[in-house]
């Protein structure tokens, strides 16, 4: 049985590596190989979810590489494998350059995610965690001939790696406290049971790593730049996988956050504020993918908030929201990608009426956006309400902030919805490229959209009490009245925004993602580069120069002595002394021939003398 678990992680890794390495020969076969592999991974994920095997292999002396599946891991593994397969299916229709590299990297990424989900200890987690970062770098920079795209990939990797350092700290804390790296059981109780100072170090480290990956504040800006990658990349990495793994890590380590006390509060408030602020950012975007990206940060905020309210069933709520969001968001990114491919734009203004021009893609997008808005009975309406219920148990203020964030998500979803659904005939003046060039979306690309739309519609069932029982976690106390109330509120906001889109403000700070990227440059990048330049100059002009200066200094010293000698110290005794010194100096200069073998011979003589000296001493 453990072989199945290794297969789940190993199969995509091996197939992906083969595609990347032999990409010259496999370009034509790449989509087929990738689809077969992803299908196998999905089947394995289902089998593993039922059988719940454990697998272990020797890795580090103090920590084997152990994989386990519990309820949470099973649910998320199936989600990731399913979305992965559907996205690859869509990508097979969309990606037409460097296919072997692209599909190979996607499979490697999928493998890293599946390992993240099943890793039982910090070593395996970190291994997978940074592999996700590296493959995402290469995927975002798919169009590497553009400097901007290469930079965007590097920014995603570096920003998330800055957070990843926290996991190294957490591992060090576990080891320093004598807990070892192989945690005794999968609940990560090992970390939650650490003694005082190390407990807080571990909690802080895990929070940093998760906030970085989940694009929570203040790390959110990398996700904006990550939109330079192809749409299928966003459909997988920025919906179900990479960013979602940030949320997953916190759901997984919720006992640690709870044990540390303050850490649960940071997760709860950090998530809620990200949901609120990035919701405002999403409203201000004029580019469909940027809107979706900001919305991803915001939606992951609800998941992170769930992890911070574990005591009230937040883990169940957060997991449900993670799964529902994965379907919704990958659906929307694929739709955005389909329009980019057929209409050549992702600007919202230019996509006016696009949903009517392409009914299949349009229907998918409408379902996705309505779900994102929290309109009943679609998935995110129910899952978001579960998160709200847990938040409300923690504090009323948290509940209010979260509710506001939920209404903002209705607003930004409705903004896109209104534009996509505008009747192009009723507004003929607006340059409706969408209606004029109805190039049809390839058929192969439609199946994933349809399946994801079904998921986006029905996954609200995860908010029902059975899900908590299946996970082995508390269920949040959802009240039917509040459920109806938030549903009606979301519906009202959506209707209002669709009817009167001009109500929505778009302040500069929100359009520019709070200027976080510029701030990161000002606070971190530029000072570090300046320091580096200064140190390099110091290294060349001071440190190295000082070493080189010792030779001329010695020579000058001798010359100075000679000058002093000539200047008139000609008295009898003095003269004899200086003459003697000069003779000594000449003698000393003789061996300094500048020829290496002479130096070496002298050293050998010194060595021999030392040996003789030792013999005499002993």
């Amino acid at each position: 049985m453990s072989l199945l678990l290794w297969g789940l992680v190993g199969l995509p890794a091996v197939a992906g590596a083969a595609l990347v390495i032999w990409r010259q020969w496999l370009d034509r076969a790449a989509p087929t190989v990738a689809l077969l592999t992803a299908t196998a991974a999905l089947l394995l994920a289902v089998v593993v979810a039922i059988a719940r095997p454990t697998a272990s292999a020797p890795f580090l002396p103090s920590a084997p590489l152990t994989l386990v599946t519990d309820g949470l891991a099973a649910v998320v593994a199936i989600t990731v494998a399913a979305v992965g397969l559907l996205v690859l299916l869509a990508a097979a229709a969309e990606i037409d350059d460097a296919r072997a590299r692209f599909f190979g990297l996607m499979l490697l990424f999928l493998s890293a995610v599946l390992l993240t989900v099943t890793a039982a200890n910090l070593v395996g987690l970190l291994l997978a965690w940074e592999m996700m970062g590296a493959t995402s770098y290469a995927l975002i920079a798919h169009h590497w001939r553009s400097d901007r795209h290469a930079d965007s990939g590097a920014m995603a990797f570096l920003t998330t790696r800055a957070g990843d350092l926290g996991l190294y700290l957490a591992a060090g804390a576990a080891l320093a406290a004598g807990a070892g790296l192989g945690l005794p059981n999968f609940g990560l109780d090992g970390l939650a049971g650490l003694p005082a100072p190390w407990l807080h170090v571990a909690a802080a480290g895990v929070l940093a790593a998760a906030f970085g990956k989940a694009a929570q504040l203040p790390f959110s800006f990398w996700l904006s730049r990550a939109m330079d990658g192809p749409s299928p990349v966003s459909a997988l990495l920025h919906s179900a996988a990479m960013v979602a793994m940030g949320g997953y890590l916190l759901l997984r380590t919720a006992p640690l956050l709870g044990a540390a006390g303050w850490a649960a509060g940071v997760a709860a408030w950090g998530g809620a504020l990200t949901a609120l602020v990035l919701g405002a950012v999403a409203i201000a975007q004029s580019d469909l993918k940027q809107l979706l990206a900001a919305s991803t940060s915001a939606q992951l905020g609800f998941v992170v908030l769930g992890a911070g309210t574990a005591a009230y069933g937040g883990v169940t709520a957060g997991t449900a929201h993670l799964v529902g969001h994965a379907a919704v968001k990958s659906l929307l990114f694929l739709a955005a990608g389909a329009w980019l491919a057929t209409l050549g734009t992702q600007q919202l203004a230019a996509l006016r009426g696009a949903a009517r021009a392409h009914p299949v893609v349009g229907a998918g997008a409408v379902v996705g956006l309505l779900a994102l808005a929290g309109v009943p009975p679609l998935s995110l309406w129910a899952t978001k309400d579960a998160v709200l219920a847990a938040a409300g148990q923690r504090s009323f203020a948290l509940y209010l902030v979260t509710l506001a964030a939920a209404l903002l998500s209705a607003a930004y979803a409705a903004k896109a919805l209104g534009l996509l659904l505008t009747d192009p005939v009723s507004e003929p003046k607006r340059g409706l490229s969408a209606a004029r060039n109805p190039v049809s979306v390839p058929k192969r690309g439609r199946l994933p959209l349809a399946l994801l739309a079904i998921g986006a519609a029905v996954l609200g069932v995860l908010a029902l009490p059975w899900f908590g029982a299946a996970l082995g976690e508390l269920s949040p106390p959802i009240s039917p009245q509040k459920l109806v109330l938030t549903g009606l509120l979301a519906l009202a906001v959506t209707a209002l925004v669709v009817a009167m889109p001009r109500l929505l403000p778009a302040p500069g700070w929100a359009r520019n993602w709070l200027n976080l990227e510029a701030a990161a440059h000002a606070v971190a990048v530029r000072p570090v580069l300046a320091l580096a330049t200064a140190l390099a100059r110091f290294d060349d002009r001071v440190l190295h120069a000082a070493v080189l200066a010792t030779a001329p200094a010695a020579r000058r010293l001798a010359a100075g002595a000679a000058t002093a000698d000539d200047a008139g110290l000609h008295g009898g005794a003095v003269r004899r002394v200086t003459d003697g010194a000069r003779r000594l100096g000449q003698l000393a200069r003789r061996p300094q021939t500048g020829q290496l073998h002479h130096y070496y011979a002298q050293a050998a003589v010194v060595l021999a003398a030392a040996v003789v000296l030792l013999l005499v001493v002993s």
């Binding site: 580090l60 590497w144 060090g172 320093a176």
Partner: protein, 495 residues
């Protein structure tokens, strides 16, 4: 068998040096075959090694009156380094199949150099260690001075020679101090490790350790003794740089775990904080200065300072005994030894790749290129893999080393370790930036028809990276050898 491994390369070296009539092609292939035999021998040695403790021990009287003997053997510290040395020299030999400049003496010199390197890692006698240490400096001097391609090759070679030679004299001073303190007087490492003659002697132990530390720090190199390294690398031929950074630097770090820690435990504990601080400064300073370089080769050279800094951090943290967990300290030292192997393989690959770059474009300057991935996809892939390995990406050996160093050191030196963690962020930034400037973006160079890696180049570089990957994914066979030895070192330091 161990002595065969050490001295076997001298035979072809002597033939190649003495017989001027050997055709160039024969000289190149002789070198490759001899290095390949060394790899096979070291593999056989590895398979036959029954750890823990010293295996393949040979002790023959040499200078009995001075308490020095020809005493060699291998254990979990030296075996991985011997294997890494053999592999790096084979890579250098294969890479040099394209060497046009006097290949016969070049091969002879490298074979002789290999003997000194193998001998050093196998030595169990301080005088033997010292002799191999110095001879390796001489060999490398001639490599840089004779085959260097920079304008200042001779000057860089002399700087390298004088600087590291000065270090070796400091080392000798320390060795003599150990000898004098031992009763009976001896240079035997096993004996000195067992008795730790300067334990409890206060100032004397500190002075002896200072001398040894300065000697090793120059070789490693650490801040502030590293300035010989960049010019030496800039001017050395690619194969020379690979051996210099891959193997010769490890002589310094190996000295810490082989000589300084076990023979001077209480002095080491006293100096531990200083060593940690020097390590952290090396990490950050090396990375920052590397970030500012415009030359790819100098940049890689400075990353060596950064990577060696992690080793210092780990061995220093292992000396902070009070209130810390011995398991954690063992993890740190295991990480340090793994880092020696890992850095040897990765940096050798990077320097060979730098050689390819200079061969194609005639320059190491990063801004002389741009968009090269379009012309040379395989070269780009190899460099990207080497760069990601160097920045410590999991799945490669660097992660196995650095993860253990960080995780093991945090308990002993929390602030220093947290600061050193920034090093892996800086190296990630600088290596990605270098990759971008060389390979990505629009085409920025004017070179007509840049050739991709040739067979001799890819057969030299790819196996190094495959090994790096294997260690990264299946580290257990390597760590099972290292771990008992590092646990022993940790116990010796704590006594």
């Amino acid at each position: 068998m161990l002595s065969v491994l050490i001295f076997l390369p001298l035979l072809p070296a002597a033939v190649l040096a003495g017989w001027r009539g050997v055709p160039d092609a024969a000289a190149r292939w002789t070198w490759v075959v001899a290095s390949a035999v060394e790899v096979v021998l070291v593999a056989a040695l590895w398979i036959g090694y029954q750890g823990p403790g010293i295996g393949y021990e040979t002790a023959v009287a040499w200078i009995p009156a001075a308490g020095s003997s020809y005493h060699v053997g291998v254990d979990g510290l030296s075996l991985p380094l011997l294997a890494m040395t053999a592999v790096v020299f084979l890579a250098a030999a294969v890479y040099s199949l394209a060497e046009q400049n006097r290949p016969r003496p070049f091969a002879a010199l490298f074979l002789a150099l290999q003997t000194t390197c193998m001998g050093l890692f196998a030595a169990l006698d301080l005088i033997l260690f010292f002799v191999f240490f110095d001879l390796s400096i001489v060999g490398m001097y001639f490599v840089i001075a004779g085959w260097g391609h920079g304008r200042d090759a001779a000057r860089s070679a002399l700087t390298f020679f004088l600087y590291t030679f000065l270090g070796s004299l400091a080392l000798l001073l320390g060795f003599i101090g150990l000898y004098v303190a031992a009763d009976p007087h001896t240079f035997d490492m096993v004996e000195l490790t067992r008795t730790a003659p300067l334990a409890g002697s206060g100032a004397a132990g500190g002075l002896v350790l200072t001398a040894i530390l300065i000697g090793l720090a120059i070789k490693t190199p650490t801040i502030p003794f590293h300035t010989w390294l960049p010019p030496a690398h800039t001017d050395a031929p690619a194969a020379g740089s690979a051996v210099l950074a891959g193997v010769l630097l490890k002589m310094g770090t190996y000295g810490f775990v082989r000589i300084a820690m076990p023979m001077l435990p209480d002095a080491w504990r006293g100096y531990a904080t200083v060593i940690v601080v020097v390590g952290v400064i090396s990490v950050l300073y090396g990375a920052l200065v590397a970030l500012a370089q415009t030359s790819f080769k100098r940049m890689v050279a400075y990353t060596s300072v950064n990577h060696m800094g992690y080793i210092l951090l780990a061995v220093g943290a292992a000396g902070i005994v009070a209130g810390t967990d011995p398991t954690a300290r063992t993890v740190a030292v295991t990480g340090a030894v793994t880092q020696m192997v890992s850095h040897g393989l990765i940096t050798a690959a990077l320097f060979l790749l730098a050689g390819v770059l200079a061969d194609r474009g005639g320059s190491y300057e990063l801004d002389a290129y741009g968009g090269l991935a379009a012309d040379t996809p395989r070269f780009a892939t190899l460099t990207a893999v080497a760069a990601f390995a160097s920045l410590g990406l999991p799945g490669f050996s660097g992660f196995i080393a650095e993860f253990q160093i960080f995780a093991g050191s945090l308990g002993s030196a929390p602030v220093a370790t947290a600061a050193a963690l920034l090093g892996i962020l800086l190296t990630a930034g600088l290596l990605l930036w270098a990759l971008h400037r060389l390979f990505l973006g629009p085409r920025r160079h004017e070179l007509p028809g840049v050739a991709d890696v040739r067979p001799s180049e890819s057969w030299a570089i790819a196996p190094l990276l495959v090994l790096v990957l294997l260690i990264g994914v299946f580290p257990a066979p390597l760590l099972d050898v290292i771990e008992p030895a590092s646990r022993a070192v940790v116990e010796l330091v704590a006594r």
